[in-house]
Amino acid sequence: MKNGFVYDPICGIDGEKMDIAVRDGKIVQSVNERRAKKIDASGMIVMPGGVDIHCHIAGSEVNAGRLLRPEDHFKDFERRTPVTRSGVGHSIPSTFTTGYRYARMGYTTIMNPSMPPLEAKHTHEELSDTPMVDKASYPLLGDWWFVLEYLSAGNIEECARHVAWLMNSTKGYAIKIVNPGGLEAWGFGHNVKGLDDEVPNFCITPREIIRGLCKVNKLLNLPHTIHVHTNNLGKPGNYSTTLETMKSVEDLAVENKPAIHITHCQFSAFKGDDWRTVESGAEEIANYVNNHSHVTMDMGQVIFADTTTMTADGPFQFGLYGLTGNKWVNHDVETETSAGIVPFRYRRKSYVHAIQWSIGLELALLIKDPWKIFMTTDHPNGGPFTAYPRIMAWLMSQRAREATLKRINPRARARSLLPSIDRELSFYEIATVTRAGQSKALGLKEKGNLGIGADADIAVYNVNPELIDPSRKYKSVRKAFRRAAYTIKGGNIVAKDGEILRHVDGSTMWLDLQVSEPAAMTDEMKRRFKEYWTVEFENYPVSEDYLKTSRPISVKAGV
């Protein structure tokens, strides 16, 4: 790859004109130039392949969303080509189309953030069918019975061994916590209202769950932190819950390393007493994050479009159903978690939606360190991932923000902090929020960078940083990010100018946790599996041969 302007924040390369050499799917120091295939990237930007830390692309929930929305397929479909398969879907594309669309934008690593352990097999089946990208999945553990029991007994080490068993059994990558305690309560038609509200039947509070799993995370040496969807998500005034959640693990951080990831923070940053008085709590959250080093978060940016909301947060989705009167799926995943799906349209002219749009961008711009906040839409909750180039344009250009501000609800415009923020992200910072920061937070050493030995996942965008000022010409930047000039996955050119040239499978990453002593599987546990689960204990684990392309990541746990 010759003469591109390279942006590689992990290696500290900021727009330097240089060559990148690739051999056998890895970045190397140099190759034999006469024999190697050369790509001329002069006048173009070269970045590591994109990494998405939070994107619902597979699993029973996503699939239920597909079933729920034939009208979403109807308006967006792709024809078969000699290389690609056909597919449908705008906000919830079918698996193959998801892979192709990511590859077109130069993304090569995707994290599927919500996997009920019971649905792990289904999730991995779909992930195996999602080509072009490497992927991993986070099992939902915040409401897992045995975890709650171990934690309420204060038995962190045994809990850690149990989590290690579950991580291996579900082929998961990180601990996902959704509305801790609330989902268990939702099984009985209730919810928890704050961090210190007791979970019914378990004598434990959300605070104890978060702290406990944070300790477990540290004991197991997991590469990512706990991945938290806060309590009270999507409710006015919830920014204080978010602040408290971050504070609750302040003392558990070591050496200024992150201890908690607050996901789709936009949905957890509302101030105000009700929907009429709701306003942005981004400033308070940004202040906290700017002064503390134990938090990373992602935006969960809202796009003005028709989309499908889906979370494991059943009570939140019920509220959304009441708000919209739209169709609704409510799902109770046996003893494990809940789930809800509601189609949703974010409208420019709606006060609340416009405020939400503003909050996401305020968070990204007010948090000074781009290594702490990453770009996501919480696809498909805030909008489809195909809208990422639009968010990049908003982040890089005040003009782009003003152009949208002009068209939103006037009351929201008056209350938005955006007109007072003149920060514009550089290409280097964009590379941080879209790949480097995400890969660092995930502990993926071979992703999100172009250092020697890293995977040869490279994105080339046809925009010349010397000639184009992204602040003024945001439209050409947006266009360039929409269709990567080249997407290189594992050393192969898979997409060129937005056209898929080659089908590659992409591997499923999972943590192979080495514990010194296996988790105690008592007869009592097995009895309960028999009694409460539809899947037998013996059939529960996902074996490695179930994954089409398995890529275990060995981690030595501290228990």
Binding site: L68, P70, E71, F74
Partner: protein, 273 residues
């Protein structure tokens, strides 16, 4: 006038959204013949399926298309049309006049499901029977009819006018179940008999049943007896009619008029007045 005559009996579904006055307007015969359509999984030229004749070269703003023959396998005729006229002398396939905004379609035979689906304006006249989902949105969608007129002289299937917001549907025959399902506005008039569950989940709009109706959903409440009902403009239908309001399960405020004379079995509602 542009005339299309099917060259043979079609066996596979044909997607022909190009058969629309807006597309044909200003094109020569050769250009029209070269338009692409899908027959099953094969892409074909329009001339592979139809004989095309331009009778009088149209110099006006909009043109008229006449289809003579059975096109019951041909879907999406007049899709998204904005003006002009389509006359069909025969049976027609699904999605006739889908998302149309203006102009007129007259079908002399029977019409399959989803006629006038998601339409915003214009007129559809159906002289035979119509299939299910007349004027209803695509599966899963809530964007019902937003305007325009549909008149059916025969019977219609189920879920006529589902999710309707504006416009008028007049049915001079019988209607199937769930007429006006989840309707928000507009008017549906059914001259003859109507199957059950009419107006289920409706939140607004008006449904008039001038014939026999098996039963009214329990989530409707009787409001009064009206001597006549206004359908469209100055057009009135003489009653008397029971006026029901509902669907209360959706906190709805839709109006359901049911003929008193034809429905003596509903007279027990009168004691609630």
């Amino acid at each position: 006038m542009i005339e299309l005559v099917p060259l043979r009996q079609f066996r596979f579904p044909i997607m022909a959204e190009c058969i629309s006055p807006d597309v044909f307007q200003g094109k020569t015969t050769a250009e029209i013949e070269a338009l692409n359509v899908w027959e099953g999984n094969k892409q074909k030229k329009l001339s592979d399926l139809f004989r095309i004749e331009i009778n009088t070269p149209d110099q006006q703003e909009s043109c008229t298309i006449r289809i003579s023959g059975d096109v019951s396998k041909v879907r999406r005729i007049g899709s998204r049309m904005k003006g002009g006229e389509i006359i069909i002398k025969g049976d027609v396939g699904m999605h006739l006049g889908e998302e149309m905004k203006g102009g007129k379609i007259a079908a002399q035979g029977n019409v399959a499901a989803w006629a006038g689906s998601m339409m915003k304006g214009g007129t559809i006249e159906i002289h035979g029977n119509s299939g299910d989902y007349l004027g209803a949105p695509y599966r899963g969608s809530t964007k019902g009819m937003h305007g325009g007129n549909i008149t059916v002289y025969g019977n219609v299937g189920t879920e006529a006018g589902a999710h309707m917001r504006k416009g008028t549907i007049k049915i001079y025959g019988n209607a199937g179940q769930f007429a006006g399902f989840r309707m928000h506005g507009g008017t549906i008039y059914i001259q003859k008999n109507c199957d059950d569950r009419v107006g289920a989940c409706m939140t607004g709009g008006k449904i008039v049943v001038a014939g026999d109706l098996g039963s009214v959903l329990p989530t409707f409440t009787i409001d009064s007896i009206k001597a006549k009902v206004k359908i469209e403009g100055e057009e009135n239908v003489e009653g008397p009619f029971y006026l029901f309001l509902g669907d209360l399960a959706e906190s709805g405020n839709g109006k359901l008029y049911v003929s008193k004379g034809k429905n003596s079995h509903l007279s027990h509602y009168e004691r609630f007045l």
